[in-house]
Each structure stands twice: as C-alpha cells, then as structure tokens.
C-alpha cells in the first residue's frame, strides 16, 4: 500500500492503472503466473491422456465401490477445504488472525483426508494388479474388443501420473498452509490470500481430473464384477 502512495511522484499514476496496472502485489502476481504455468502442465497431461485414450482401446474398470465412492468423497473434501480456506482469508482480511489460523488448520485437515483416501484408493487398484505399464489379467480379458484388440496398458501410466502429480500438489499445499498457519501473525494479509490462491488452484485441477479420469472410466455395465 505504501508503495503505491509513493508512486504518486510518477506521472503515470494520473492514468488509472498506469503505474500499477493490476493493483495486486508482486507476490500475488507471481503466484497467478505460477498458477497459469501449472495449469498448462496439467492441461498437457490431460490432453496427452485424451490422445492415448482416443487412439487405443481404453478400459473402463472403475466400480461404484470403492473407486467412485472414494473419489466422490475426496471431491467433497477438496471442495470443503476450499470453503474453509476462503473463510480463513476472509477472517484474515478483517484482522482476525487467530480465526484465520483455525480455518487454515481445518483446510489442512481436509487436504490430508483427501490424500489418505486417495492412497487407500490407489492401494485398492494396486492390489487388483494395476501397474503403470500393464493391466490386471482379468481386465485384459474383459476389455479386449470383439476384433481382438486388447485394451491399452498405458491406462495405469496415465492414471498414476495425473493423480500422483495432483496428490503431490495437495501434499505440498498442505505443507505450505502449515507454514502459513504457524507464521500467521507475522504474515501480511496478502500473503495469506496468496496461499489461498494456490489451494483453490489445487481444487480447481481436481475438478478436471475427477470427471476425466474417474467419471469417464466407470464400469457402467459391471463387466468386471461378472
């Protein structure tokens, strides 16, 4: 705030937005630029996944339980964590740092719940026999087409890469928020808002990963159960 007051010496400030075109601090702009670049990373991965899916026979193996139930509860956790985060930022803007800390800790709780549920879900699939470069034997039998084309073994590679990278983002976000929560009194409001931006971004990415990876791969007819 003081920087913009000092900028009064520059004639550019006469034109609205001249000296501070975005009216955000340099840290916040930096976080936004990071978010843009990181969304391109995830876009590239999801488009790569779609490419493989369009050019191969793709298995649709996820049963209602555990996969869809788990991933839906995980989605609920992330959405709720975004809500608690926004409450934290809102409390911080009113100067109530203690309340902000409590909401941020609630956010971390939901984030950690997400990771734990996701690891259990991974465990189910690994137990089933799914690996990055091959499918379980009974999946291959079920999803081989009538032309005799087997399903792509890269199913596991795309699944573990995309959800794994997202899980890494959630984990690093939880560490980031923990540091913010511990140092909340020393931080400026904008710094807390910036940590919120990162957390909402992690939530936003899941809004694409969940339908494309999980919902599009539901075993609708229950082929695997038969």
């Amino acid at each position: 705030m003081s920087t913009e007051a000092r900028a009064g010496h520059f004639p550019a400030v006469d034109w609205e937005g001249g000296a501070f075109p975005y009216r955000v601090g340099h840290r916040k702009l930096g976080m936004w630029l990071f978010i843009v670049s990181d969304s391109l990373t995830f876009s590239a991965l999801l488009i790569g996944y779609s490419y493989l899916r369009a050019s191969n026979v793709w298995p649709t193996p996820f049963p209602f339980y555990p996969s869809i139930v788990f991933s839906s509860v995980m989605t609920f956790c992330l959405l709720s964590s975004s809500l608690t985060m926004v409450f934290g930022v809102s409390a911080s803007s009113k100067g109530d740092k203690a309340k902000a800390r409590k909401w941020i800790l609630a956010t971390i709780f939901f984030g950690v719940t997400f990771i734990v549920l996701h690891l259990i879900e991974w465990q189910h699939l690994i137990h089933e026999g799914m690996r990055p470069f091959f499918l379980p034997e009974h999946w291959v039998q079920v999803f081989t087409t009538t032309d005799g084309v087997p399903p792509s073994p890269l199913f596991g590679a795309t699944f573990f890469t995309i959800t794994g990278l997202h899980m890494f983002h959630v984990a690093s976000g939880a560490v980031y928020l923990l540091i913010v929560a511990l140092r909340v009194n020393k931080l400026k409001h904008e710094d807390i808002e910036i940590s919120g931006l990162y957390w909402h971004f992690v939530d936003l990415v899941w809004m694409f990963v969940f339908p494309l990876i999980y919902i599009m791969s539901v075993d609708v007819g229950g082929h695997l159960a038969k």
Binding site: S2, P21, L40, A44, A54, L83, V86, D147, E190, E193
Partner: protein, 119 residues
Amino acid sequence: MTAHAHVEEHFAGSNKLFISIWVWLVVLTLVEIFLAYKPMPIHLMLIVLLGLSIIKAALIMAYFMHLKFERLSLILTLIPMLVVCILLLFVFFPDSFRSAGLRYKFKEQPPVAPAQVEE
C-alpha cells in the same frame, strides 16, 4: 486514481456467498456422478462433463480465487493467454485418430467375445 490510492485489504464477498458457491459446486459434482451411470454416447458425455467442469472452474476462479473482484486488466492478462495456450496443445490431437485407424482390420468376423465394450 490519485496518489492516495492504496491496495485494498478488504476481501469482497460474504460468507453466505461463499457457502452458496460451495453448494453449487457440490450439486454440480453430484450431477457429474449421476451422469456417469447414464448410458450415452461417449462424445456427448465428454462435452457435458467438460462443460460442467468449466462452469465449476469458473466459479472457483471468480469467487474463491477472487478474480471477479480484481481489476479487469489482471483477468484479461491471465485468462485469454491460458485459453489460447491450452487450445494450441490440441494441435497434436488429430494424429490420435490417425493412429487408431492404423490397426490391423480383421477380414472375417472374429468370434464374439463375452463382453463388448464401447469405443
């Protein structure tokens, strides 16, 4: 804007607004899960799911990430660039349909496998 202007510490949006956004996000997620079990052509499903995802992403960016309350110049700097770059990534995509067509085609009708899968 004159020299006395300063960065607003005020964080626009009431808790009631944020809760209603959260309710919308949860409802749209439930719609997605419901759609997962509706038999429909895969292209239609993809379009509907991506449409819902884009709505959800827009809600998160606008309200939770506070972009709606930022200066328009920030929005115009970030969003169109992102959209254009993502669209450019699709440059490679048509090749996937070509490689799908390169597979060996059986001359006679092969025996029917027990489970038939779409795609």
